[in-house]
């Protein structure tokens, strides 16, 4: 019984990062705006992806990044594949330079997220340009990028709390 409950807890713990990403994509793409539509929504879905890709990469595999990107595409109304490809590009960067990113702390950690968000934004911009076959205005993506960097600090605190409260205690020790 203990073993079964431990396994169940482990499965829940393993799925929390993924579902945090999905929830962030849903929240970011609710068709409501606090700013009369003048400010685009931030890249909320990237935050759990970035966080757990560095903290527990085994809980945020490439398939999870792909699915979160797909949900972001589907809900945001963007061409399917734009945010998916952009998230995979950021994931590839984080995967190759995990030690460098994970070693950052304080303001440098925010800059690290900023770099990942920049990769996502640039990739999405060019994938969108390929899809529409002309360069769209860069202003909304830049605004979204700045907003995402500004919101990363409080979001990382929430994600850290979730990790300490739920993911850490529930996971099964190998």
């Amino acid at each position: 019984m203990d073993r079964a409950s431990a396994m169940a807890g482990g499965m829940i713990a393993a799925s929390i990062p993924f579902f945090c990403g999905i929830a962030a994509a849903v929240i970011a793409n609710l068709p409501v705006s606090f700013t009369l539509g003048f400010l685009p929504p931030p890249l909320l879905a990237l935050m759990p992806l970035y966080f757990w890709c560095l903290v527990r990469p085994d809980l945020m595999p490439p398939g999870a990044a792909f699915t979160i990107g797909l949900v972001q595409d589907f809900l945001s109304g963007a061409p399917i594949g734009v945010w998916t490809g952009a998230f995979i590009a950021a994931y590839a960067l984080l995967d190759r330079r995990r030690d460098a990113f994970a070693g950052l702390s304080g303001p440098a950690a925010v800059l690290g997220f900023g770099l990942a968000a920049l990769v996502v934004s640039v990739a999405a911009y060019f994938l969108g340009a390929i899809y529409f076959w002309h360069l769209p205005a860069a202003e909304p993506i830049l605004l979204s990028l700045v907003l995402s960097i500004l919101l990363y600090v409080p979001a990382a605190m929430v994600l850290g709390a979730v990790h300490r409260r739920f993911v850490g205690p529930l996971r099964v020790q190998p």
Partner: protein
Amino acid sequence: MANGLRRSTRLRGNTQFPIALFGALALALLLLGKTQGNMLDQARAALIDWASPGLAAIHAPFEGFNRWLANADDMFNLYQENVRLKEDNARLRQWQGAALALEARVGRYEQLLNAVPERKTESVLARVIGRSGRPFLETMILDAGTANGVKPGEAVLDPRGLVGRVYLAGQNTSWVILLRDVSSRVPVVIQPGNIPAMLTGDNTVAPRLEALPPRTELKPGSVIVTSGDGGLLPAGLAVGTVVAQAGKYRAALYAEAHSTSEVEILRYQRLPEQAPPPSLDDIPDPGPMPAQVETMQPPAQTDAQPVPPPAGQAAPVAPAVPDRGQAGAGRAAG
């Protein structure tokens, strides 16, 4: 903070292939969306249909807040606004009188010419239950769909002017592509001068005016209306005014898509161009019969003068034309 909690490089070697695979899959999806976008759009529409009751409930408080925010600065200049509105009202009353007189005159002319009356365009009133300004989609979601007769392509207007077009219609909801969206293209004409142009969205507040005739110089403040070219939208819908920005012409839109809460969907459907039914006059003349050729030789010059028409009757200047009501039906419907 996220970083420094734990480092794991355990899976690094194993992730290269999945990353490449998922990257390729994302590109394949992008291409699939380009070719089979309708299928994905239908899935989106179905999802929004399913979520529409919750969406309307969530949207209500945001809508109130946004309306308050949009009008917040007006609270500080109510007096000036009131004076301006009174002046506008007086001026518009004068224009209303002129418009009514012109409408009556046009009606009389149409009656005299036996013109085919314009088709009445039906409309559906819909509430905005969602809106979003995203890098690749400037949209609003309405609570009317195919169940209300809404079809993709129909024009959406707020009380001020054209907002955009329906591009996706679910059963109870529809998505509107706003004029400023990156994929919006609307043929327009600029008045005065009937200058054709293409209103092209680029995700900025003021869409661009493109495809202008060469060496065209527009006057800022000129009025932009839909041209009706292509038959997707009716002609003459108010769009905005011309503004010049950095050497390019853009449109300051009349519609306030970010704050409007109710819109009108025009159920305009252009009838296909149809040729009028043939009449006897349309049958080509086979030419004079051999027996008639001789009789059609120029007559010998005589002193006979052409007979003038009776008083009060115009001389015929053209061969008989088919019935105007039938002949003009195809054009008028277009």
